[in-house]
Assembly symmetry: C2
């Protein structure tokens, strides 16, 4: 086995609790919009919002505009602005890395490993999360699907990530939470795969990943065993 030279991480639900944060932020935003005059009960509003998110995708910028339009039949900037402010306030308050994330990243850097993030999403939005999480200085590169034009689970996207970091698959560990979008393609390319059991996909069936961990700090032992520490 080759010596480990780098680690590539997924971002959402791998380095921080994205599922929980987004859930809370959306719910609080909807509550604040109801308080601002969106005349509907909470569960019904969440049902409509979830349908809009499903239809338009999570990177669509006007979920709250559409929600208000669907419920009131008109443009109501006061209510939309209320939702945006609440969502943003919750984001600022809740965006924190999982426990042991910074300690782990620090030790990985001390091992002399290259570190990268490979994530679906809009580049500025994903960078905003990394900066607010306070972990961006640890990464040698951050690769987003927006920049590449194709996202997970496309193998080309993972290859592009390896190229950007100048890493070969067999000397690289990939860490992600999803079997289908993270582990499967990374494994297929010959990377060593570590699945982190976090977020809404933590109970997904998995007979693919090389390792499963509950806490990111377990990575350190895996790398020591594989010979990635200098």
């Amino acid at each position: 086995m080759k010596k480990i030279k780098g680690v590539i991480f997924d971002l959402d639900d791998t380095l921080y609790n994205s599922s929980e944060f987004v859930n809370i932020a959306r719910r609080e935003a909807v509550k604040s919009m109801i308080d601002a005059g969106l005349n509907i009960n909470f569960d019904k509003a969440m049902e409509i919002l979830n349908r809009i998110i499903k239809d338009k995708g999570s990177n669509y910028g006007k979920h709250f505009d559409d929600l208000v339009k669907a419920i009131l039949g008109r443009y109501e900037p006061k209510i939309i602005a209320t939702g945006i402010i609440t969502y943003h306030n919750v984001k600022v308050a809740l965006l924190r890395p999982y426990p042991y994330t910074i300690k782990t990243l620090l030790e990985l850097k001390n091992f002399g490993l290259k570190l990268g993030v490979l994530t679906d999403g809009l580049a500025i939005k994903q960078w905003e999360k990394l900066i607010r999480l306070g972990i961006h200085p640890f990464f040698d590169d951050v690769i987003t699907s927006e920049e590449f034009g194709l996202g997970k689970p496309h193998l080309e996207f993972f290859k592009y990530g390896l190229d950007r970091l100048n890493l070969n698959p067999e000397e690289t560990i990939y860490v992600g939470d999803r079997v289908d979008k993270d582990i499967q393609p990374a494994k297929e390319l010959g990377m060593i795969t570590v699945r982190i059991l976090k977020g809404k996909y933590k109970n997904m069936k998995d007979d693919v990943s090389d390792y499963q961990i509950k806490n990111i700090y377990e990575l350190i032992d895996i790398i020591k065993k594989l010979g990635g520490n200098k």
Copy 2:
């Protein structure tokens, strides 16, 4: 003279210090982008940014994208995200009404007057400011140029604002900071005009306005004199 029934306010630089806030927010954002790798000196960066704002208008959503592109010749989401976060943090920290604004609005409501805001700009952005300023509950209506399709100094926009509030011009006081965009058109329609000497236009030549005030609370005396208090 008819009894005063309502007061319409401009927003930026009339109810809060927009010039100062935007200046500080942009400067701090540029400093943070330089710290994040935007390799240029500060004055030069501000010069380029100011040119972009002049060319594209202040409601263009990608000033920092263009700035980074102009300086580095490429898309650099990390630096753009850094600028956006800093701009936003400064906004949250500095967005406060001018002294005596809330006290004044409260007394005006106690007089039984209708209160409105008539402002150029994007509806959601202007509402976001009013909500963050904490003064939105005082206003019976907020009218933005985006919703109407035409902005200041178009007389139609002012007429539309009067209609929305169901006010006649001669029973309405208009309060704004700019002679050209606020006072002139309001006066032309027959409104009673009060110019607030605040922000970057405070030294503008003015032989139009009916009253000039340095502090918004002076409105109370003007209205008492004109007979707008119940």
